[in-house]
């Protein structure tokens, strides 16, 4: 009785250790998460930056992201745990400050991403019903997703897969429009080589890539389910890189279709650019009905990705609280729902504050596009995290490798790292204002840390160091 474990049969009997995420489920998880994140929201802005050739920006963005994905794939097969970037940086450097910073940057990125996506959602919503103010739609959207996260129905793999299929169908509709248009002989293919800033093609592409990159984010959340992936060494790299590649191909084709069917200026000035492709009226279906269907699809796509971001936020805060770097309240789970109530509510408040600040800035006359602004902030934060993950991957090269560990090609990792650094430099130099937002978000993380250091002593017996597991603390 003193040692309970040996007296009951081992957990492993008759497959008791069953994991549930197959390669296919992971593929759909990645694909759905990536597809919802940018193309519905940002394609118009990317077109505006680059010109008719904006497919090239998506192609480059996808490539840089996929090379980063390789580093995640290698590290997730070595350390199949749910923590992602912070875990890898911690394994590589063992420096608590650096680990904390990585976690906060990642957390901040999920806040900004959720904000950008919520604003994108409101734009599509406004296309079908423009009566409610956009800010109200955004706030209700964030609140609704927090609620869904709270009641815990995110656990349904069936729903996740269904949403992913809806997203693919939406983009499939755009492709069908493109194919019909081309087959009629109406297409002018020269537009695909058209750059808005004629003299400097590289510059134009990089400008687009910085935004297009947002469309690839979300893949890093695949680490969330690494722990539960069946045969991770085989399935994780395939599903992650496969999902990203599939998303990349879809993006490039959708961009080409959009550029061929709709004038680039129209795309660039539209709030919901992919709707313009539908409005071109090429499908033999009443345009009004099609616009409604497509707007709903776009909103489902955006919701799916935002939900993953919202889940990730609360999970990061929960993990941080367990590590004693933020107040213990964030580790409290609801007794029945088993979801971290405080973490969920806090995250929703932060995202809503971002949106309110954006709205206020607009009201006082600083014209900002909140979707683009928060997307750029997400990209800056994630580029730093991604670069850190690739460096961690290099540092851990000869450690903890088993026979079956996936090993990413070194040259591709190097290109990925270079790509991340170049993009980071570009985004910061052209849009230094985004750093203010980043700083604001990071400050939230620091404030939580200060709160824990100042008030967090009560839940720890005297003399116990921060971060040490306390025996019987839960009792």
């Amino acid at each position: 009785m003193s040692d309970p474990k040996p007296s009951s049969a081992a957990v492993a009997d008759d497959g008791g250790l069953k994991r549930s995420i197959t390669g296919r489920l992971l593929f759909f998880y990645v694909l759905g998460d990536v597809l919802g994140s940018g193309i519905y929201v940002l394609i118009g802005s990317v077109a505006g930056e680059v010109g008719g050739a904006f497919w090239a920006a998506f192609a480059v963005g996808v490539t840089v992201a996929a090379f980063t994905g390789l580093a995640y794939a290698e590290l997730a097969t070595k350390y199949p745990q749910a923590a992602g970037a912070s875990l890898y940086v911690n394994k590589a450097f063992g420096n608590r400050g650096l680990t904390f910073l990585t976690t906060v940057l990642y957390l901040s990125a999920t806040f900004a991403a959720a904000g950008s996506l919520a604003a994108g959602f409101a734009q599509y919503f406004g296309q079908i019903w423009d009566l409610p103010p956009a800010l109200l739609v955004m706030v209700l959207f964030v609140g609704l997703l927090a609620f869904v996260n709270y009641i815990g129905i995110t656990e349904s793999v069936v729903v996740n897969m269904a949403m992913t299929i809806v997203e693919v169908v939406g983009l499939g509709i755009v492709l069908v429009v493109g194919v019909i248009y081309v087959s009629r002989g109406d297409a002018d293919f020269s537009v695909l080589l058209n750059f808005s800033s004629g003299d400097n093609i590289v510059f134009a592409i990089i400008a687009g890539v910085a935004l297009a990159f947002f469309a690839m984010t979300g893949f890093e959340n695949a680490a969330n389910v690494a722990e539960e992936t069946i045969d991770p060494s085989r399935n994780f790299p395939r599903a992650l890189v496969g999902g990203m590649a599939a998303a990349g191909v879809i993006y490039v084709l959708v961009s080409m279709a959009a550029a061929l069917v709709v004038p680039v200026d129209t795309l660039a000035n539209s709030d919901a650019a992919l709707l313009e492709v539908i409005r071109a009226g090429i499908l033999p279906v009443p345009v009004a009905a099609m616009v409604l269907v497509f707007a709903v699809i776009a909103m489902i796509a955006i919701s799916n990705t935002t939900l993953v971001q919202v889940v990730t936020q609360s999970r990061i805060l929960y993990g941080m609280a367990r590590q004693d770097v933020v107040p213990a309240a964030f580790a409290k789970v609801h007794p029945v729902r088993r979801s971290p109530v405080t973490a969920i509510a806090f995250s929703a408040v932060v995202v809503v504050l971002l949106l309110v600040v954006g709205d206020l800035l607009n009201r006082i006359g600083l014209e900002i596009d909140i979707v683009e602004r928060l997307a750029a902030v997400t990209v800056v934060l994630l580029l730093v995290v991604y670069a850190g993950v690739i460096i961690a991957c290099f540092k851990l090269r000869n450690q903890d490798a088993r026979e079956d560990t996936f090993r990413a090609p070194t040259a591709l990792l190097a290109v990925g790292l270079l790509g991340n650094v170049v993009l980071l430099y570009y985004v910061i130099s052209t849009d230094p204002g985004s750093l203010l937002w980043c700083a604001g978000l990071v400050a939230v993380g620091l404030l939580l840390f200060v709160a824990e250091v100042t008030f967090g002593k009560r839940d720890r017996p005297p003399g116990v160091e921060r971060g040490t597991p306390v025996e019987g603390r839960k009792h």
């Binding site: 009951s8 009997d13 250790l17 069953k18 539960e228 590590q323 007794p335 029945v336």
Partner: protein
């Protein structure tokens, strides 16, 4: 220890104190000679914000969700030490209600024990709890252990 003729009981735990109480409740009235096996089942939900939260055992702050589930299952399994039936520990992965029902089916369970932590509005309004969903589709009788109301302090 185990008798071939007894039933197989599945005891589910979500890491909550209530699930530990449910396991203890089974001990208070069930006849161990009529039970051949007890399987303690914990379910890790990979897509949920907290894939498994363990409130009933001690564990390091950096254990994985799966390790947390293993700890919680071990704590509940320890309740049945020396009781008689053979005790098994199982971790499953997926949506909790679904996996508990599947485990009951796969094990040919004669009884499923679950805790229902809810007492009030949330259970009625929010699409039902895991316990409700298990009751709805389990292949065998289900014992739902509801929380007893705490006596009011003066």
């Amino acid at each position: 220890m185990a008798t071939a003729s007894g039933i197989h009981v599945v005891v589910a735990t979500d890491g909550s104190k209530q699930s530990l109480a449910a396991a203890k409740h089974l001990l208070t009235f069930a006849d161990p000679t009529r039970i051949s096996d007890v399987s303690v089942v914990g379910v890790v939900s990979p897509y949920a914000s907290v894939a498994f939260a363990d409130d009933i055992s001690q564990g390091s702050s950096d254990r994985t969700f799966r390790e947390a589930a293993e700890d919680a299952v071990a704590t509940v399994a320890a309740v049945f030490d020396g009781w008689g039936p053979t005790v098994h520990r199982r971790i499953r992965s997926g949506s909790p209600a679904n996996e508990i029902v599947k485990a009951a089916g796969a094990l040919g369970a004669g009884l499923v024990v679950v805790a229902s932590g809810s007492r009030g509005l949330s259970a009625t309004v929010l699409l039902g709890s895991t316990a409700q969903r298990v009751q709805h589709s389990a292949p065998c009788p289900v014992l739902v252990v509801r929380p007893t109301r705490k006596p009011k302090k003066a």
